[in-house]
């Protein structure tokens, strides 16, 4: 094991916000003086209303970056010590951090940027939140109202840009409107199917004097007559589900993100236990059930477990709970689950029947639906399911056995990624918040770390955004300081948002980074090997000496190249109070198997070749 020179000695001492408790006190006193002095002198402006609104919504930390038109906000921010502002290094980092905060806590995350480039830098993160139904409120400044549409400096039609990638968006031109719009924005972001809401506020609205009061929730709801999500499942449909379950011989539950959003984990487990139904999960459904539960069967889809996909293909009833039959989950829809009747529960009616035709559609909040469903379901004893569950267990043994690199190394002698992930999971008692980046690292994270609690696995599912991992982990770590947070990143994705290392240091955010360095864009290389006949164009990737890099930032770092170094390095990183990095030099050519080639069905999985084992 190599340790970074200096081992982080002298780290962060030069950073003002992470100082000693004495300096904390001075800082607090300074803020108090500032607050009193300023509030006496000045009137209440739009920027104050914005801060008040954030405080009222219970925002304790948010992520942003200043610029010309948003400066009125930064000018008053010091008066609101309840609001901790994290200065990121790039607005994309702010949006992902808000997203990570929201996923880890279930609360609304907030990010902020200036007009023009600040706003466009947020776009990737907003799109990421939209595709994964993450409640964030993204706030941008815009040029003064009189300059709108004049191509003023740093003016861009940002609400035009975010319109199709948000749940809703606003352009606010008047200080008096800020209170209501913010209240609506938070309500919309978290209610029903969650999603990002973007609020663009002109500079003069931020500066304008106002006496507008903050509306209560009732007023907000009354003002949104077009937004009334259906929460309770139709009673007739619930009875139908109970009948379907009673008839089924090979039922299977597909647990999605909706279970975590609705916090329906208890109800899911009860249903599984009462009717003896094995539970499988989507990428974002990881954590819906404790993976050690006897009925927890595994992760489905393109890089899911073979036994899971096999169970889906042979099921006679699929009970889909809060998931959306994404193409990464179904493969070719024509050959998907050919024997199964499908029950689909989702809070968004538009998801039902969108990708697959379903037999029993139910619109509602999955927790409330399951609560009303449970009493209607006839208990099924293990005896009845014995043959079925026995067969599933056999398949599982076979598929897990064939994809496990128990020795910790891959054929080139370098580390195997599955081993690393297994060790990280174990070293943290499967209780850390694991935040994946995108690519092979993401699939290994999903498959091998082992999850026992909800919201302990964060992953960019719908958009598949490289560069998501580290900034999202930043938000997760701040949202759940009681849990250890690990970011699992590939060398490609890490280098996309590597600038946030400085943010981790400045604000002393204790993210542990596991860099799975294969010196490749691994997932691209894998496709080139398996789909493009080994034509490896542009998948080779040079990176820096990550120990020197970490040292330059003052982050303690370790390097592991052999199995024996893996666990000690993880534990060393865990023992550090602040951020830490472990550089795992893994095999370059290890693939994620099984793999369902794009356009193929779940029964057409590519598996590892004998000579690669």
């Amino acid at each position: 094991m190599t340790v970074a020179k200096g081992d982080g000695g002298g780290r962060v001492t030069h950073v003002p916000s992470a100082g000693t408790s004495a300096s904390d006190e001075i800082e607090r006193a300074r803020r108090d003086m500032l607050h009193e002095g300023r509030m006496q002198k000045r009137t209440r402006i739009g920027a104050d209303v914005l801060c008040e609104a954030l405080v009222r919504q219970g925002v304790d930390v948010f992520f942003g970056y200043p610029g010309g038109v948003i400066l009125p906000l930064y000018d008053v921010l010091g008066d609101y010590p309840e609001l901790r502002h994290i200065l990121v290094r790039h607005e994309q980092g702010a949006a992902h951090a808000a997203d990570g905060y929201a996923r880890a806590t279930g609360r609304v995350g907030v990010c902020l940027g200036t007009s023009g480039p600040g706003a466009t830098n947020l776009v990737t993160g907003i799109g990421n939140a939209q595709l994964d139904s993450i409640p964030i409120v993204a706030i941008t400044g815009n040029v003064p109202g009189a300059l709108l549409g004049k191509d003023a400096f740093q003016e861009i039609d940002i609400t035009g840009i975010t319109l199709p990638i948000t749940k809703h968006n606003y352009l606010v031109r008047n200080a008096d409107d800020i209170a209501l719009v913010l209240a609506e924005a938070f309500h919309i972001a978290r209610t029903g199917r969650p999603g990002p809401v973007h609020v663009d506020i002109t500079k003069d609205a931020l500066q304008g004097e106002t006496r507008a009061q903050h509306p209560d929730e009732e007023t907000v709801v009354a003002g949104l007559p077009g937004f009334r999500p259906t929460l309770d499942g139709h009673p007739r449909q619930l009875r139908t589900i109970a009948q379907e379950i009673a008839k089924a011989r090979r039922p299977l539950i597909l647990a999605g993100h909706g279970i975590l959003i609705a916090e329906a984990e208890e109800e899911l487990r009860e249903l599984a236990e009462k009717a003896g139904i094995p539970v499988t999960w989507t990428l974002l459904g990881i954590g819906a059930i404790d993976e050690t539960h006897p009925l927890a069967y595994g992760y489905m889809g393109m890089h899911g477990w073979k036994h899971v996909n096999r169970a889906i293909q042979s099921a006679d009833l699929l009970i889909a709970l809060g998931m959306r039959f994404d193409d990464r989950v179904t493969g070719n829809v024509k050959t998907y689950a050919p024997h199964a009747r499908i029950v689909h529960v989702d809070i968004d009616p538009a998801e039902i029947g969108k990708n697959v035709a379903v037999d029993v559609p139910v619109v509602g909040d999955v927790r409330r639906v399951l609560r009303s469903l449970l009493p209607l379901v006839e208990p099924v004893d293990r005896e009845t399911r014995a043959t079925y569950l026995g067969q599933l267990a056999e398949w599982r043994l076979e598929s897990e056995g064939s994809s496990w690199h128990g020795s910790g190394t891959w054929r080139t002698g370098l580390l195997s990624a599955d081993y690393v992930l297994e060790q990280i999971g174990e070293a943290n008692d499967h209780d850390a918040t694991m935040v994946a980046d995108v690519g092979q690292n993401q699939m290994w994270t999903a498959r091998y770390a082992g999850y026992r609690r909800p919201k302990s696995h964060l992953s960019s599912g719908g958009l598949g955004t490289m560069g998501y991992g580290m900034p999202a982990a930043m938000g997760a770590a701040l949202g759940r300081p009681d849990k250890t947070t690990w970011a699992i990143v590939g060398d490609g994705g890490f280098q996309m948002t590597i600038q946030e290392l400085a943010t981790l240091v400045q604000d002393d955010i204790p993210v542990k980074i596991a860099l799975l360095d294969n010196r490749k864009l691994g997932m691209i290389r894998q496709w080139q090997e398996l789909v493009y006949a080994g034509n490896y164009h542009s998948s080779e990737m040079v990176g820096p000496d990550y120990l020197k890099l970490a040292d330059a930032y003052g982050i303690p770092a370790w390097k592991a190249t052999r199995p024996g170094e893996v666990r000690p390095a993880i534990e060393a990183a865990n023992a550090v109070d602040g951020p830490a990095l472990v550089w795992f030099e893994i095999a370059s050519e290890q693939n994620v198997f099984p793999m369902m080639p794009a356009g193929k069905g779940l029964s057409d999985l590519l598996e590892e070749l004998e000579e690669q084992l």
Binding site: K167, G226, T230, S314, T335, A350, A357
Partner: protein, 188 residues
């Protein structure tokens, strides 16, 4: 897969949107907030819905507008369009009125080439079609016609013989027959 159920060929699972397509008419009642037309149009484009016409107008209530959307697709596809429209915060009510008894009318204004010799002839064609002349000039007349698309088409076919210099059609606006009201019905 040995040991799995049901040997033998299994029919392919139907793909939503692969059924028989036809023209559907949707009526959407929306909150009259800035950008709502943009939201609807953007959604239709982004989700690849094939719209033929979209008309917007005021209603009797100041804060509510009404859209008539004609769209091509099968039942699934059109239902999907309806559901996606509902996801927009400003949309209050959407109804597919294709199979309901409705009045579907449009308005056309036509500027027809006319001379002293044929003006009388044109006027009588117009009157026969229950349209009317709303402007007379030395070399043209402006005709206003309302009716179903088929009725307006029929009149235009005849007027084309004289030379159409300008034409504007609103596209159909639709209202269900009977005393029910889409606008009064609450969302969903």
């Amino acid at each position: 897969m040995s040991g799995d159920i049901a040997a033998g060929p299994v029919p392919a699972r139907p793909i939503p949107g692969s059924g028989e397509t036809r023209r559907h008419v949707l009526v959407a009642v929306v909150q009259n907030r800035t950008g709502v037309l943009n939201r609807v149009a953007s959604l239709m484009r982004a989700r690849d819905f094939n719209i033929e016409s979209l008309s917007v107008s005021h209603t009797d209530s100041e804060d509510v507008s009404r859209m008539t959307i004609t769209i091509h697709g099968d039942e699934f596809h059109v239902e999907q369009a309806t559901k996606q429209l509902y996801r927009l915060i400003d949309v209050l009510k959407v109804q597919d009125v294709t199979d309901e008894p409705t009045v579907q009318h449009e308005l056309a204004l036509v500027k027809v080439r006319a001379t002293d010799r044929n003006r009388g002839e044109i006027v009588s064609i117009v009157e026969m079609h229950r349209a009317r002349v709303v402007d007379l000039a030395p070399e043209s007349v402006v005709v206003e016609a309302t009716g179903t698309e088929v009725e307006v088409d029929a009149l235009l076919t005849l007027l084309r013989g004289y030379g159409i210099r300008e034409l504007v059609r609103t596209g159909a606006v639709v209202m269900a027959r009977g005393s029910g009201s889409i606008e009064e019905a609450t969302k969903r």
